[in-house]
């Protein structure tokens, strides 16, 4: 198709020159005259105030100072128990000690829901040429509004109560990575627990609604020696926002009651994540299956506050956090993600899972389901922020989170207690 008009490159170019002297005898003279008139003259070449501000922020590493801190100090947000409100507090973090061979971190945080959290950790992340690590970790937390709806899959939404969970943990963790992607780890530590009346005016305190006989651990708490082993293999392209690959993990932990000889138990956690990309990795189907099974010692039980839980932004997103408690839990997640534009993905998901009292009930019957949609804001190949809206027969839930929905292990289809194997 012939375009309208004739495009004389040379002619129009010269005509457009605007103000060109009409008496120039040669083309060179024309250009020189035009250079004299226009050379170096351009009003839009000054830095704008916005650009200056951005440059200033860049020069002073403002973003880094905000996110990484000043002289090791920074503000940290969240990382408290879901439902405990907005959390904030100072952190002192040094990752460059002895050229990065030693990392130290300590922080305290408080939330609008009256939760408190403090931790201290010392990590040697580069042992054996970065193939091994050693990690010393201690943590204290006090959450006065932990929800409890009663035991079992048939607990009522209206049965919500609140209890205070206070504990302190002292752990030594070590691990190695013999081949890329594979990690083997061990942990050992001491755990002190305490449960008390909840402090949430909206709900009754747990001990007022549930009996101590039906709720083991409600009346008396204990301290535990805990130890465990873990093996995992990870071949995801980007663990914080995977487009393809998989993650498989098996953990085995032993919690030995030190005070009462009532609550000793073992826990087996199995997890598989698989990411199936299509359309040249512009779409992803993310799948996960995870189960946590407990094995109480003969004549002993798993205290309710250490039982597996389900519900929340990482597993059954249409249900409230910790909606279901029991001795075992099992969850399946499927999520379809597509790119809306660079940095923002949409997601449609379906979650199914259940808690169950006996391990023989590990099957696909009587699963609780929830479905929904969400958005993921990505930065540097990881989910920086996500919004999920989950629907279930109990209504809908809106979740704002700063991690990938499956992420690495921890707090997902687990209990309020999960051993820490890896330095964060």
């Amino acid at each position: 198709m012939v375009k309208r008009g004739v495009r004389f490159g040379f002619l129009c170019g010269l005509l457009w020159s605007g103000g060109m002297p009409l008496d120039a005898q040669t083309r060179q003279m024309e250009l020189e005259e035009r250079r004299k008139q226009d050379g170096g003259v351009y009003g839009d070449d000054e830095l704008s105030s916005v650009e200056r501000a951005l440059d200033w922020a860049d020069d002073h590493k403002l973003l880094e100072r905000f996110t990484r801190g000043i002289a090791g100090f920074r503000l940290v947000f969240g990382n408290l128990m879901p439902g405990s409100g907005f959390g904030l507090g100072p952190e002192y973090y040094r990752e460059e000690l002895r050229n990065g061979a030693v990392r130290f971190r300590t922080s305290i945080r408080a939330s609008t829901g009256k939760s408190l959290f403090g931790n201290v950790e010392l990590t040697l992340p580069k042992l054996l040429e970065r193939k091994a690590y050693l990690d010393l970790y201690t943590r204290w937390r006090n959450n006065p509004r932990v929800p409890y709806y009663g035991a079992g899959p048939d607990s009522k939404k209206s049965g919500r109560t609140a209890f205070r969970l206070e504990d302190a943990a002292y752990d030594v963790n070590a691990g190695l990575s013999p081949i890329p992607g594979m990690r083997l780890g061990i942990t050992a530590g001491y755990l002190q627990t305490n449960v008390g009346p909840g402090d949430d005016s909206r709900y009754a305190s747990t001990e007022a609604a549930y009996s101590t006989s039906a709720t083991p651990g409600l009346g008396r708490q204990s301290s535990f020696l805990r130890s465990g082993v873990v093996a995992s293999y990870d071949w995801r392209d980007y663990p914080g926002g995977a487009k393809y690959g998989g993650f498989y993990e098996a953990r085995f932990d032993y919690y030995k009651d030190q005070d009462l000889a009532l609550y000793s138990h073992r826990r087996l956690t199995l997890e598989a994540q698989q990411y199936v990309p299509f359309a040249n990795r512009r779409r992803v189907i993310a799948l996960r299956a995870k189960t946590l099974l407990t094995y109480a010692n003969p004549g002993q039980v798993v205290p309710f506050y250490m039982q597996p839980i389900l519900g929340g932004q990482n597993d059954l997103r249409g249900y409230r956090f910790a909606r279901f408690y029991d001795n075992n839990a099992f969850v399946l997640n499927g999520e379809y993600r597509w790119e809306i534009f660079t940095g923002l993905d949409g997601a449609l998901f379906y979650d199914a899972g259940k808690v169950f009292h006996r391990r023989s009930e590990l099957n696909f019957h009587d699963l609780k389901g929830s479905a929904g949609f969400g958005f993921r804001v990505n930065a540097r190949n990881s989910v920086f922020f996500r919004l999920d809206v989950g629907f279930s027969h109990e209504g809908f839930q809106i979740w704002f989170s700063f991690n990938d929905v499956f992420g690495n292990s921890g707090g997902v289809a687990q209990s309020l207690y999960a051993s820490r194997y890896w330095p964060q």
Partner: protein, 541 residues
């Protein structure tokens, strides 16, 4: 319509008459080869471009003079009457032999001297891929750039290959040398400082360098087994004054008198970027330096940093999006959102052969008209068919052998990877040729020989057709008024009798069309005392 818009419109309408009335269409020195010799410039301060602001401005504000609503469109302004780009500090018409193309800008005498240690004089430690500034035994400075751990050879190969191709086309680029070295080759210079990600300045230590190189792949086999591979990019000559923009002019540079968005080599760079998949062709990957030549200080304009070309995105393999969709486009985003991702674009379902050392590049879904960089710039957006034709001609000049040997100089250890890169460049070149060369009647390089007008039929040469008959119409051309008087009896390429017997100083025009094609090309011939000269060429699209 604002006052200024009205004034501009009036100027567009009136200027042809002013020009025609004022004088000749062709000047005695047409076609010229070069922009005027540079003038000495005062000191220009270093000017940086903030990449986030650049993205925002080019994505949402579209600065510069636009062709979108201009009628007639604004043609490139730094071309001669043949449509060729004038030699300047931006671009040089280079006629290179096969050997020169393969060598590129490099000179073995300027390759890093490994006879002595390389002294680290600065480091870039933040980011995914580190970089080191070194001084070799000969005192020359190089920037060492590395590959990402997962993609050995990818970014370095792309950097070397693309620099050679762009140099052969005519751009100014750095000399990029592939080097393989061991840790012991590097020593840390005394009091060498670097600024970490916390804006703290401290001395670099040997341990810092060792740690940094742990993030870099090493050759697993072959003659360089165990060695670190890098591109040593020789510092370009002159005093750096920051990147150039793809619009406007640099304030204070007396030689910068043509708006960048109207420079053909920048408009045409869109097509060239499409060819080598340079999705990161933005301002921060350019550099202006003040050089001194023959006692005159002036600015030279470089394209730099080609680690994000071919299948490479420098720190990782390209995603399928890169080169096919911008970072943000409102309509695409709306379509993606509304369709729940069920609207698939052609590049999303295209098949890619994947080599870790190449990344993601292919040709079967390549369409240069739909190719886009990460974000648009005004020069690319202003590209007209003649700009694209010019770029396509430049690309088509590379033979298969040229391309294969340039790619071989990227030293891929996997022969399959090397073949794939060469195959992609060859096929993409041909697609570009079919797309743009055919738009322009595909005739070029006009000259008069033995009393006949002759030319190169690019369509026939490159196998895009060219079998159609051509129709020829001659006319006498009045260089003062622009009027043509047809010579109805002259319908062959033989110079017509009136032309052969005409006096020196007269102008003649012949219009050539292919049978069944309305596109034409008109060649203006000036008769001089010395013979016949091609004074100009105009193409109808």
């Amino acid at each position: 319509m604002s006052y200024f818009t009205g004034l501009a419109a009036a100027w567009v309408v009136l200027s042809p008459f002013l020009q025609t009335a004022a004088g000749q269409r062709f000047r005695v020195d047409d076609p010229i080869c070069c922009e005027p010799a540079p003038l000495n410039i005062d000191n220009l301060e270093f000017r940086r471009i903030n990449e986030f602001y650049d993205y925002y401005r080019n994505t949402f504000q579209h600065p510069g003079e636009s062709n979108e609503h201009a009628s007639p469109p604004i043609p490139a302004q730094n071309v001669n009457t043949l449509g060729e780009v004038l030699n300047s500090a931006w671009y040089t018409n280079r006629k290179l032999t096969h050997e020169q193309i393969v060598r590129g800008p490099n000179d073995p005498a300027r390759a890093p001297d490994a006879s002595g240690p390389w002294t680290v004089i600065a480091a870039k430690t933040e980011g995914v891929t580190p970089g080191l500034l070194i001084r070799d035994a000969g005192g020359r400075r190089y920037l060492l750039k590395f590959d990402p751990l997962r993609n050995p050879e990818m970014a370095t190969g792309a950097d070397v290959i693309t620099a050679k191709l762009l140099y052969a086309i005519g751009y100014f680029v750095p000399e990029n040398y592939l080097v393989h070295f061991s840790r012991e080759q590097l020593v840390v210079g005394r009091d060498t400082k670097f600024t970490d990600q916390f804006a703290r300045t401290s001395n670099i230590t040997d341990r810092d360098v060792t740690e940094l190189l742990l993030r870099v792949p090493r050759a697993r086999r072959g003659p360089h087994e165990g060695k670190i591979r890098a591109v040593a990019s020789l510092y370009v000559p002159g005093q750096p004054i920051g990147p150039f923009k793809y619009y406007g002019r640099r304030k204070g540079d007396r030689n910068d008198f043509i708006r960048h968005e109207h420079r053909r080599e920048l408009r045409g760079f869109r097509v060239i970027s499409a060819w080598v998949n340079h999705h990161d062709s933005r301002s921060i990957n350019t550099l202006d330096t003040v050089v001194e030549e023959h006692g005159v200080r002036h600015v030279r304009h470089y394209l730099i940093d080609f680690g994000s070309t071919l299948g490479s995105a420098a720190t990782k393999s390209k995603s399928a999006r890169e080169g096919n969709a911008p970072l943000f486009d409102f309509r695409s985003a709306a379509a993606n959102f509304a369709s729940l991702g069920l609207y698939f674009r052609h590049w999303e379902i295209a098949k890619y052969s994947y080599y870790p050392s190449v990344g993601r590049i292919q040709y079967s879904a390549f369409d240069p008209e739909r190719w886009v960089p990460n974000y648009h710039n005004r020069a690319f957006m202003n590209a007209l068919p003649e700009d694209k034709f010019w770029a396509a001609k430049k690309i088509m000049q590379f033979s298969d052998a040229d391309i294969r040997e340039v790619v071989a100089s990227g030293e891929y250890s996997d022969k399959g990877a090397e073949n794939w890169v060469a195959e992609c460049l060859i096929r993409r070149r041909d697609i570009i040729g079919r797309t743009y060369v055919r738009q322009a009647a595909a005739l070029d390089n006009f000259r008069v020989a033995d009393g006949r007008l002759t030319f190169d039929d690019l369509a026939a040469r490159y196998g895009f057709g060219g079998q159609e008959e051509i129709r020829i119409a001659w006319a006498r051309f009045d260089n003062e008024s622009g009027a043509k008087s047809d010579l109805t009896s002259a319908t062959t390429l033989q110079l017509p009798e009136p032309l052969r017997t005409a006096a020196a100083g007269t102008y003649w025009a012949t219009t050539i069309k292919r049978e069944g094609d309305e596109r034409s090309v008109t060649i203006y011939i000036r008769k001089s005392a010395a013979g016949y000269e091609i004074a100009g060429v105009e193409r109808m699209w």
